[in-house]
């Protein structure tokens, strides 16, 4: 790539942060350089480490919950412990893992690079965001030690006001985490508005960035409502304000409205980044621009907006008026359209492409497979009369795991495998990655398809024990969880192994036309050696030069092609 010796435009503070041309992991050394770092890439890696640990903790809770459900009666734990474990599984996974995951780890790392910027708009705020995350994590751990919570991650009143557990510390931990999410959103929004490099018009902006932008919108507008909801719950518990307590004149259903006003948009904070990654993967591994680029970009914004209008579909049997239920059902169907548009566009992108069956692409195709199931099962739940039968059963549990895990987590894993060489400079072992993928894919379906069936047959959720007719489904589901766990551990091992045994990665191992692949692998501290000007789109394979697309595998062995 033609490099011109032109120093980066910088103020004199640049030297305090290291040589802008040095590789970002080498620019400064020592643990202090990590603790006080302002580099979005390092912050992204620190987030990645923490959310991975959170995923491990949440996953262990899940495995234990499923183990308890393997047989009727008491299997490994008593009911109170079970109630705490499923609550912790949900809370840890939602607040400590999935909401920060893609934006804070991958978004932090790649958003500035993808728009040709040197960093995010507010690097110190970014660091603060990370430390607030750590503070929230600590408060939640305190809650765990003090007896944890057994309300379900949704903290419904009046039970959450009455139960003798550490609800206040748990909710205050989540409150603190909310600020981390908000500040990330503020940072991303301002960065995209004010720091795009010349030539990076809105039309040329990568779809991953569009996804991060839409997610930032939701984070900014929805999370404050969660903050006030949890504050009100805490004051209710501590002072007995009475806002949710019927004995004091309050309304328990009001809590549900407040809670879901945030938590429904929150699920779009979870899925839109996953969709954003999928766009990148499909384009790169089909060697083709995404079909309907504008529609995909706009559908992310549409999901962000429409996502605020459908919270009532969590309350169809809770006690809303018929008028309200009708309205929410209609709006819920409306919000299905942008998701459908994306799935059609991704599939169409593969038409007459040149498809590389590398491990990230396997995950991208799995995303389409699993998210389609998740989305279609949402149709059952949006249909009022059918929802009456299915709500609060395992059908709902299976639905949201298909979209959150089969969607976001699958995309996250694909994104990790895709961008691992970029972030670390090392290539992972593709064969192990693919083996891990198949265990994940098969395991995941084995866990959750039986749950659809037992749900529609009447098995309610959050049950410590069950009637005999549901046992075969529960056992199949638990066995699936072990297969899934093997796959996840294999994938984690593959990624970690690459760090010490992986081959040095070429600049562009996948031959992508994306902007982030045009700079060094791994990137220099200031992301680019020269201030970039973008002269083509990130998916313009017909405009990119052969040199830009060269994978460099001619000189090195090509694990991407499955050769050893």
């Amino acid at each position: 790539m033609a490099a011109v010796d032109m120093p980066i435009v910088s103020g004199h503070a640049a030297d305090a942060h290291g040589d802008p041309h040095a590789m970002y992991l080498k620019a400064k050394k020592g643990w202090a350089s990590w603790v006080w770092t302002l580099d979005h890439k390092r912050i992204g890696l620190m987030y990645l480490t923490m959310v991975s640990l959170a995923f491990l903790v949440g996953g262990v809770f899940a495995l234990l919950v499923r183990l308890e459900l393997f047989t009727r009666g008491r299997t490994i734990m008593d009911a109170e412990t079970y109630n705490r474990f499923f609550t912790l599984h949900g809370s840890v996974m939602v607040f400590l893992f999935i909401i920060p995951s893609v934006p804070a780890a991958l978004g932090n790392f790649f958003l500035p690079i993808m728009i040709g910027a040197k960093d995010v708009a507010f690097p110190r705020l970014n660091m603060l965001s990370f430390y607030i995350y750590l503070l929230g994590l600590t408060i939640i751990l305190t809650s765990l030690v003090m007896g944890a919570v057994d309300t379900g991650w949704t903290f419904y009143t009046p039970y959450s006001v009455q139960t003798a557990n550490s609800v206040i510390s748990m909710t205050m931990g989540v409150f603190v985490l909310g600020f981390s999410s908000i500040l990330t959103g503020v940072n991303f929004l301002v960065t995209v508005h004010t720091m795009r490099a010349p030539g990076c018009t809105w039309n040329r902006m990568p779809l991953f960035v569009w996804g991060m932008y839409a997610t930032a919108l939701i984070q900014i507008l929805a999370t404050p409502v969660l903050a006030i909801t949890l504050l009100l719950l805490a004051t209710e518990r501590f002072f007995g304000i009475g806002i949710f307590d019927p004995k004091l004149g309050g309304d328990p259903v009001l809590f549900q409205h407040f809670f879901w006003f945030y938590s429904h948009p929150a699920v779009y904070i979870m899925i839109v980044p996953g969709m954003a990654i999928t766009s990148e993967l499909i384009a790169t591994f089909s060697r083709r621009a995404i079909f309907g680029h504008f529609a995909i970009a706009m559908s992310s914004i549409a999901l962000a907006v429409l996502g605020f209008l459908v919270w009532g579909h969590h309350l169809f049997v809770a006690g809303m008026s018929e008028f309200a239920t009708m309205l929410f059902s209609a709006l819920t169907f409306l919000v299905a359209i942008p998701s459908g548009v994306k799935v059609f566009n991704w599939t169409a992108t593969m038409y007459k492409g040149s498809i590389l069956w590398a491990s990230p692409m396997l995950y991208a195709m799995a995303f389409i497979f699993l998210f389609t199931i998740g989305g279609l099962t949402g149709l059952f739940l949006g249909t009022l009369s059918v929802d009456v039968h299915l709500t609060d059963t395992y059908f709902v549990v299976a639905h949201f795991h298909y979209v959150m895990m089969g969607g976001t987590v699958i995309a996250f894993l694909g994104g990790l495998l895709y961008w691992w060489p970029k972030m670390t400079g090392k290539m992972h072992d593709e064969r192990k990655a693919k083996i891990g993928f198949w265990f994940v894919f098969v395991g995941f379906n084995t866990v959750f398809i039986p749950q659809f069936i037992m749900g529609s047959r009447g098995m309610p959720r959050r049950y410590y024990d069950y009637l005999p007719q549901f046992q075969p489904f529960h056992q199949a589901s638990t066995i699936g969880s072990w297969i899934l766990a093997i796959g996840l551990f294999t994938t984690a091992y593959t990624l970690l192994e690459a760090l010490w045994r992986g081959k040095k990665a070429p600049r562009n191992p996948w031959g992508s036309a994306g902007y982030e692949w045009m700079t060094d692998t791994p990137p220099p501290l200031a992301n680019y050696h020269t201030s970039p000007v973008f002269t083509r789109g990130p998916y313009d394979y017909h405009l990119a030069t052969p040199e830009e697309l060269s994978t460099g595998w001619d000189e090195v062995e090509a694990p991407a092609q499955g050769k050893k």
Partner: protein
């Protein structure tokens, strides 16, 4: 076929003394121009203000819902709020918003001492607000107009109900069955003995939540302005660079604006008497 990355045109940044040309000392390394940095900072603050509005929005929503369900309570309970103190607080905050705006203007004109003066006045006003609030709150506690479980238990003046001494509010909380079954009798701000139905605790719950959260933001705003004041005294601002003053004042205007809504909704609405 074009490269995606082209080198930027050489800018006039040959000097690296850091204090002139395109390299002012306050320009952060990841921004290209001071204008870009200022725009980003301003946009960031406005976006953050949007989040604060949404957070208070939840409380205003709760207010609207309860007012809709129980207008009678709201009609009566406002008599227990001291309108004089509330109005004084409004005047204090409005005045402080003026001085905050004037501080920005002096900073814009590079007048350091003037800026310092205006910032100090603003902070003093904020402190005055909190003092008035302290008196309001303690008077309510004295009357037993506490939120929730504590409603009806005069905290400071030794709780007596139905001729029996009742324990402290927080001890009661642990084994209290439900709200206050008895009528609460209290003297309102005009000196009249008023009888409040048990559900009046809801009004006071909302009152304390909203004004309490607002007071927390007043403290946050004061801290921000104090920090800005210190930076100003140290001479870190100039005509070209006064972002902190601008954004600090912007935040303060939000704090004032929330109170402008709180005051009439809590203190002024309801049946006159």
């Amino acid at each position: 076929m074009s490269n995606v990355i082209e080198p930027a045109q050489p800018a006039s940044h040959d000097d690296h003394d850091g204090h002139s040309g395109a390299h002012p000392h306050f320009l952060q390394h990841h921004f290209d121009t001071p204008a870009q940095q200022f725009e980003a900072a301003k946009l960031g603050m406005w976006v953050f203000i949007a989040t604060e509005i949404l957070m208070f929005g939840g409380l205003f929503c709760a207010y609207a819902i309860w007012r809709g369900m129980d207008p009678a309570i709201f009609d009566q309970a406002h008599h227990f709020l001291n309108k004089k103190m509330g109005a004084s607080n409004t005047v204090v905050l409005l005045f402080s918003s003026l001085t905050a705006a004037l501080a920005v203007r002096s900073a814009q004109r590079g007048k350091r001492n003037e800026t310092t003066a205006y910032l100090i006045v603003t902070i003093v006003c904020a402190f005055a607000f909190l003092v008035i609030k302290y008196f309001e709150y303690t008077h309510k506690f004295h009357l037993g107009l506490l939120p929730g479980h504590c409603f009806g238990h005069p905290w400071f003046s030794g709780a007596i109900q139905n001729g029996q001494e009742v324990g402290s509010c927080l001890r009661i909380h642990a084994d209290a069955p439900a709200g206050s079954p008895e009528w609460v009798r209290a003297i309102d701000e005009s000196g009249n003995l008023q009888v409040l139905p048990p559900r009046a605790n809801m009004f006071f719950g909302i009152y304390f939540c909203m004004t309490g959260l607002h007071a927390v933001h007043v403290i946050i705003g004061m801290s921000i302005l104090t920090w800005v004041l210190i930076k100003n005294i140290k001479g870190q601002f100039s005509k070209e660079y006064f972002t902190h003053v601008d954004l600090g004042a912007l935040y303060w205007h939000l704090v004032d604006l929330v109170w402008i809504y709180l005051f009439p909704l809590l203190y002024l609405v309801g049946k006159p008497e």
